[in-house]
């Protein structure tokens, strides 16, 4: 028995839509099997994981809190991946953005002004962009693989944050906890409206970013340039586009969004800087980007789905006693199935049971 692929003359629009849904379905099935092996009732477990968190209002606020950085980063990564620039270091850019955005509230604690918050956000974005400029420079001018360089920088960024918080930026009144001073109210990202609980403006930023990038990709020449350079550098050159300039654009753009997500998370959700500021948002955002098929509107949906896996993991731990590691497993499974189902978009799959010879006696 053999599986054979036959290239479709054109990418299937139908499967472009169906593939992510199919992937989610397969993930659910695999998850049910996994829960069963762990000795839990699969239906109960899936319910606790995916349905329960959607039933409480406060839980929906949490969903928005978790989805915001995923969508923001995911949208930036979509621009990168579409242009064939593999930024895997968004987690590091997130971290550095959080650091640079926290300079004002931590170092200049005496400065109170409505300008603080906007400046923090801008500085966070710039910090993320500058950190992303490193792999961009190394790829554009030194021909160095950006996957490995951006990834190594993640470890470096996290170690840097650790050093800062345990050293110079440790709160002197903090009972020696590795935390910074708590941010003043004007340095805190506010809730979207009175009743939105913990859900803060980061979610709005994320949606706006998604809409802007969607418009850019679909309608403008820049979007066209991104897609063409991702498909064929040669054709892009023929069109007059520069793949070197696109390396810079895509990395700076996604770095800025990741940095903005970083400072938004610290300022809006945590309220101070500490060594652990992200449950792997930068990496989960990669899954968000692929599940959303590198389309910003899809990414809004997939960001919410992956945010749900975080909540589901916590919920399953509480109500079923399942390890919270289950979240990571689900996330990995989602990406796995998305990649498998994507094959259907470009190829027809034929299962060949036996060889049929052409008319030989």
């Amino acid at each position: 028995m053999r599986i054979e692929l036959e290239r479709r003359p054109q990418a299937s629009k139908l499967y472009g839509f169906v593939s992510p849904l199919l992937a989610l379905l397969l993930t659910l099935i695999a998850g049910a099997i996994m829960f069963a092996i762990l000795g839990k009732n699969p239906v109960e477990a899936l319910d606790a994981f995916f349905v329960e968190p959607l039933l409480e209002v406060w839980s929906l606020h949490e969903l928005a809190v978790k989805a915001a950085p995923l969508i923001m980063i995911g949208v930036g990564l979509a621009v990168c991946y579409r242009s064939n620039n593999w930024n895997i270091g968004a987690e590091g850019q997130f971290t550095i953005g959080a650091i640079t955005g926290s300079i004002l509230p931590i170092v200049f604690t005496e400065w109170h002004s409505p300008a603080v918050l906007p400046l923090m956000l801008i500085m966070g974005a710039i910090g993320g962009a500058l950190f992303a400029a490193i792999p961009a420079l190394l790829k554009a001018h030194f021909n160095t693989n950006e996957i490995l360089t951006s990834l190594m920088l993640v470890y470096i960024a996290q170690l840097f944050l650790d050093w800062l918080i345990r050293g110079a930026w440790r709160n002197p009144q903090g009972f020696n906890f590795p935390e910074s001073v708590p941010f003043a109210p004007e340095a805190t990202l506010p809730a979207i409206w009175e009743e939105s609980g913990r859900a803060h403006w980061a979610f709005v930023f994320a949606i706006v970013a998604a809409l802007v990038v969607w418009f850019m990709l679909k309608y403008t020449l820049r979007g066209f340039e991104i897609v063409v350079l991702g498909q064929s550098e040669r054709a892009g050159r023929f069109a007059g586009f520069s793949s070197k300039k696109m390396i810079w654009f895509s990395f700076l753009f996604s770095g800025a969004l990741a940095g903005l997500a970083g400072i938004s998370e610290v300022s809006g959700s945590i309220g101070h800087l500490q060594p652990a500021i992200s449950p792997g948002y930068g990496f989960t955002a990669i899954i968000v980007a692929f599940l959303g098929r590198l389309n910003p509107l899809g990414i809004i949906a997939s960001g919410l789905v992956l945010a749900l896996t975080y909540l589901g993991g916590e919920a399953a731990q509480l109500s079923l006693g399942v390890s919270d590691k289950v979240t990571r497993v689900f996330q990995g499974l989602i990406l796995f199935f998305v990649l498998s189902c994507d094959t259907l978009i470009y190829y027809k799959i034929r299962i060949v049971w036996s060889r049929i010879r052409g008319g030989v006696a």
Binding site: L148, D342, T343
Partner: protein, 306 residues
């Protein structure tokens, strides 16, 4: 034993997993497959080795468990990229994320459990040679395996017919297919070999390096392995040398931290990662040599026409 010898011993222990995993990945990449999931395969090997050693009481069963886990896990990668022709970069990442997640879950019960250690094998007579003897011939099995792999992979790639076919596939899979060479079959085997090696490297981590299970204990070694293969221009002996270079950096900065050098611990910990970046830049910036050394079909999707 002098301090010098003791440090050398630790360098060997730190370098061995890198060398083993990199030799496996080298074979896979020489056949044209870029498997970024080394980190995932390595951590799965680590947890499987730890668990098998615990359950059986024997560290050798542990090693076997690590190898098998790595190979099976790599099959997932193979299926997605070779049969379904999925994007190799994304699939490698998926493998890593899944591996980190599954291993974390499987390993939960083993945190803080004392591990079964793989004891050193003392080679008679040779281990009595001053200096070299105590360093080289009182090592655990994985060190000797790493040497065997070095010679084996070198011989296989450059002196055997099958190795020639594998290199040919890495150069041009379409030409290889046109000549009737089984491209997909060979690549599956190469990927599984890479997985087995990564699994063995992971086993070394949880049975020798620190006989313990800690979540994410591979700490990015899988990624460093990938950089190592590029740095070595896909040649086995250079992989060995590079592995020891990285191993030395990794372990020496740990010694420096313990020793209390004036530099903060976090910056010392950054050294292996920073060194990886520097090394990559040095080896890659000459486009000409990069082009000549890189297997031409690396990472490219292959769909045979029938």
């Amino acid at each position: 034993m002098s301090i010098f010898e003791a440090i050398l011993l630790t360098v060997i222990t730190a370098s061995t997993p890198l060398v083993i995993a990199a030799l496996g990945e080298l074979v896979a990449e020489r056949s044209g497959v870029l498997n970024l999931g080394v980190e995932g395969m390595m951590i799965m090997g680590a947890v499987a080795a730890f668990a098998s050693a615990q359950m059986s009481g024997s560290p050798y069963i542990g090693l076997l468990g690590g190898i098998v886990a790595g190979a099976l896990f790599s099959l997932l990668f193979g299926f997605l990229t070779l049969t379904l022709v999925a994007n190799q970069v994304a699939t490698g990442l998926a493998l890593t994320i899944l591996g980190l997640g599954v291993s974390g879950m499987l390993g939960e019960g083993y945190v803080s459990v004392p591990g079964v250690r793989l004891a050193p094998i003392v080679v008679p007579y040779l281990s009595d040679i001053p200096l070299i003897g105590s360093v080289l011939f009182r090592q655990d099995l994985t060190f000797y395996l790493s040497l065997a792999l070095l010679f084996g992979v070198s011989w296989f790639l450059f002196r055997s017919r099958t190795g020639l076919k594998l290199r040919a596939i890495g150069d041009s899979h379409s030409s290889a297919h046109a000549l009737g060479i089984g491209v997909i079959r060979t690549r599956y085997l190469a990927v599984m070999f890479g997985g087995a090696c990564a699994g063995l490297a992971g086993a070394q981590l949880s049975l020798v390096y620190t006989p313990q299970w800690v979540e994410n204990m591979s700490s990015g070694r899988g990624w460093i392995t990938l950089a190592l293969v590029v740095f070595a221009s896909w040649r086995p002996w250079r992989v060995f040398a590079g592995g020891y270079l990285f191993g030395a950096v990794t372990i020496l900065q740990l010694h420096a931290q313990a020793f209390g050098v004036g530099i903060p611990a976090q910056f010392l910990s950054m050294l292996p990662y920073a060194a990886t970046i520097v090394v990559l830049v040095i080896i890659s910036h000459n486009r000409r040599t990069t082009l000549i050394n890189t297997p031409a079909s690396l990472g490219k999707p292959f769909v045979p026409e029938r």
